[in-house]
Symmetry: D2
Amino acid sequence: MLNIGVIGYGYWGPNLVRNFVESEHTQVLGVADKAATRRHLVEARYPHIQTTSDMRELLANPTIDAIVVATPVSSHFELAMEALKAGKHVLVEKPLASSSEQSERLIDEAARRKLTLMVDHTFVYTSAVRKIAELLAKGEIGQPYYYDSVRINLGLFQHDVNVLWDLAVHDLSIMQYVLRGDPVAISATGMSHFAANSENIAYLTLFFPDNLIAHIHVNWLAPVKVRRTLIGGSRRMLIYDDVEGSEKVKVYDKGIHVSDTPESVHQFRVNYRAGDMWAPQIDNTEALKVEVEEFVNAIASGREPLTGGEAGLKVVRILEAATNSMALRGQVVELAQAQGAAL
Amino acid sequence: MLNIGVIGYGYWGPNLVRNFVESEHTQVLGVADKAATRRHLVEARYPHIQTTSDMRELLANPTIDAIVVATPVSSHFELAMEALKAGKHVLVEKPLASSSEQSERLIDEAARRKLTLMVDHTFVYTSAVRKIAELLAKGEIGQPYYYDSVRINLGLFQHDVNVLWDLAVHDLSIMQYVLRGDPVAISATGMSHFAANSENIAYLTLFFPDNLIAHIHVNWLAPVKVRRTLIGGSRRMLIYDDVEGSEKVKVYDKGIHVSDTPESVHQFRVNYRAGDMWAPQIDNTEALKVEVEEFVNAIASGREPLTGGEAGLKVVRILEAATNSMALRGQVVELAQAQGAAL
Amino acid sequence: MLNIGVIGYGYWGPNLVRNFVESEHTQVLGVADKAATRRHLVEARYPHIQTTSDMRELLANPTIDAIVVATPVSSHFELAMEALKAGKHVLVEKPLASSSEQSERLIDEAARRKLTLMVDHTFVYTSAVRKIAELLAKGEIGQPYYYDSVRINLGLFQHDVNVLWDLAVHDLSIMQYVLRGDPVAISATGMSHFAANSENIAYLTLFFPDNLIAHIHVNWLAPVKVRRTLIGGSRRMLIYDDVEGSEKVKVYDKGIHVSDTPESVHQFRVNYRAGDMWAPQIDNTEALKVEVEEFVNAIASGREPLTGGEAGLKVVRILEAATNSMALRGQVVELAQAQGAAL
Amino acid sequence: MLNIGVIGYGYWGPNLVRNFVESEHTQVLGVADKAATRRHLVEARYPHIQTTSDMRELLANPTIDAIVVATPVSSHFELAMEALKAGKHVLVEKPLASSSEQSERLIDEAARRKLTLMVDHTFVYTSAVRKIAELLAKGEIGQPYYYDSVRINLGLFQHDVNVLWDLAVHDLSIMQYVLRGDPVAISATGMSHFAANSENIAYLTLFFPDNLIAHIHVNWLAPVKVRRTLIGGSRRMLIYDDVEGSEKVKVYDKGIHVSDTPESVHQFRVNYRAGDMWAPQIDNTEALKVEVEEFVNAIASGREPLTGGEAGLKVVRILEAATNSMALRGQVVELAQAQGAAL
């Protein structure tokens, strides 16, 4: 039985606490939150869980094995680092930290202490995303041509990061899981309507090898909630709509065939193929339940979790590069260089 | 009664012919198409309309007042120019021509001969777009923050232009009509999967004055047809979904209010406002019917049509700049300079 | 080449005329309509087609082989009978006539004169309905358990029939085509809100052998257009949504399995099965195009058309029985008896 | 602080427990369930709540003020009666009991002991239904013409009741709340596909005074989940779609106007009116939270709850009559008589 302490009971914390409470392999010993109203909520729901305004009480508790950090991004590094130094395994809400430099220091600290460092890339643990990864791995889509994602809704504005760090991190972690290979360059545009240097709408293009292009549209100020990803390939295309109650993933047996390798655009002949659509059954296991088990197993075995520190670092590097590109209104940033520079 | 000759009876030509046939103010005297199968279709539907494989027969016919050009983009300039030189008024399918230089020459020729030159920016004549323009003009949306459009489907691949010239032209013409002011800079990315230099997927960001940002996503290789535009403003937000059978335009009384003019991003407090949604009744007059009347009236009065040569030129300039930016993977292109150069 | 005369150029007539004009095997020689505005519409679209206010001109024309009746229901019998007596083949808009007695007389007259009598059960000729019939015939659904259809929208109120005779006729003709066997009893309820004896909303339950139940909901006063049919069976279930632009037919590999043949309801154990969903590709050939060919072929070969007089009569018998049941607020009417009596 | 004991921790019990736990005015002292796996679930989530396999322990506990019955329908009467006899207030999951006779005995027992008897007609406490009631009360819809509801999905088959008693009870309770007046007669049809006398699909027509007609379609064997109600009136129409994430209620400013009071159906002239659609903002307070407060307040004040015994009885009477009508394949059952007989 793994004993858990949770820091932060705001928007996402309650879901983490509930899943660690309900897991057979974990129990929650304490929850820290500076806000008394949030602690009262914990106390009403779980009278047996200890609450505190000072997260250091959790770190000082020798019976606690692991710390879950569910606070604003700007505090991730400090809290995770303190927890690691206190000898605790750590699960950090996404993104891992505010910079690649911070991320690297967390990775190093965890490695040195042989502790598990994991980032809460929740979507990687959904049944839908795992099904998509399986379809792509089996070649059902063929060679991927494009990956296009829209993730927009009204709020919640974050104070310490722009919209890319809040929402695009989901798409980047999904992409990392379902696509082979890493992006080599990016171009991003965006706009701040309310506060300097904090874009509330952003568009991010990622260039991958082999003519694969990916694009993410994130927006905190949209009238409706959209969570929709299109993946087009040489054999088929799929749509992943996370807002759909059922049939979240639809595979379209559609595509085009170009008769010959054309020398010029005027010579090519396009044949369209429109076949059946197919929506595989997706089980509705809660993602956090799967993620909790991954955290438990990674700690037990000492292996790298599926969404460990390195996975978190890769995403943070793209977010950094994208923020730089946005400032230059779309100027391309080579990621190979960025990553080379970081070595 | 205005006598019309139509060049091209391919994908869009039949709609133009039908509307000119049914208008009380026009009649179609002849249709030219090089393909016999297309001419046979005209003959079956309209035994009274003369058909020909040689469009010069139409130009030589002195009873024909105006020529409609509904052919591939690469032929627009040559055909429209010949028609103008034959003294005919001209309506050209979008986009006006293959380059801004061609567009300017058409504008000059029409002006010199006092003939009407109009471009078929069809969406400007739809009831939905006219309603949106009315809502924005009345300030219902407040100050526009963003304009985001997705226009994707499977096919029809064009041989002589990339996907921006085929699909984004619609969004650019709508934007021109409903937004005040012109974009000052753009950044575009895209990818060719089948033929060199002909992107089949593209993303275009347009920067307007006053922090207005616009974005267009066009794709010839999508599994589903999407025609969806979001416009967010300081007062309200709206969605225009052209695939919807009814309720094409929805206005959301939603938004955020930032309490104070924040000095830094950490100080601002966001208040969310979520009110009613409202879908104004949209009449279902066919856009081409309205467009035909605009063409007739512009010719009769000698005034510039709503979508005249200048409107067409502005769109072509953006398409040119976007194609350049795509080649540089998103490198920003200043439009003010481009337009300054044209003066 | 079959020469066609069309009576009635109202709501549906233009679609019939267009398809007979465009077929390679037919040509339209004349259109009769009492309203001058409707005739002017014909003249604008097809200057080569003769128009008349007196349908007798069409009957008297010896070059006309077949008459299409596209007028209100109350006139079907008289016009079709006159056409048959004039030696013309006849295609009548649905329903065939206002009563089963009228329908039988038309069938007899056509048989006596060896003329083709066909009713325009349009949906039977759609690709979607034909695909559904194919799926059921192949046993994909297993034993049918229920057939449930909703067909509602705002208008068009008919003056001479209730909503069942206007809308449910579509469902009855589809049911006749895709299900084996005929209903044995029906129960109907409905309500008139505007004029005595003309229900504008109606619900119709049909009992078939083997525990198959069907239900139709029709309504002239609904705020949205719904055209949705569910078919549940022992193996799978399907949804046919005619308002969907694509994926009109979806097959769900879902169902339940009852472990044993239970003696009582308390003993049975239900196992749910939820598998993939699958939407077969449906081609988008216009139904009337297929129907025109069926009319031409039936005339040429002398065989009974797919939707001949007998098919039309069966539908009318159900409509009569349903109207009687409605007057008795759902009192069951045995159809076997009704049909027995008709023999 | 009201002390609560809950009997039954199956499908719905967890939601009731969670809401009574989180209310400021109640606390849950004990949960009874015969299944050990269900009790373990309670213990994992709420280690401070006492669990038991014998509900009599809860009744014998003098500190428990009120009992919540969340068990299969067939046990409602016995458990509620025992709880009342033990002096506890009672909240029973819907429907109140298995018969009107049982319902009346519960009402009498509660009245005699001055205890609160309430039935969990959950939907009455949703924001959407309360908004609809408000719209109808204000006359926004005008005179109601029809009320049409579809409530279908796959599962959960109930062993002790037919589908009407499981699903239609929701619609009947909503109808009771939003419409004035009671139905006077009903006609129902249905079919059992798996076990005798337990229809898994049913259609219920209710006749109200003033030509108002209502209809409910319920089905345990549908491939998709539908929860959709249409209400048409003389001024406007509305759609309530509970599966929609947002915009659950849409009001359509559509309708028809009949020019004169027509003598016969042939004389009336229909004018269609198609105006804007409007979706009022619906807050997303959980219904059970409101319901818990209603239970607390009714107990504190001694007043009849909004969904008290009488409300529950009326619904049960309709369910009884509908089951009778189904057995007679739609034979109308007069409810006035049924209710007269019960007096």
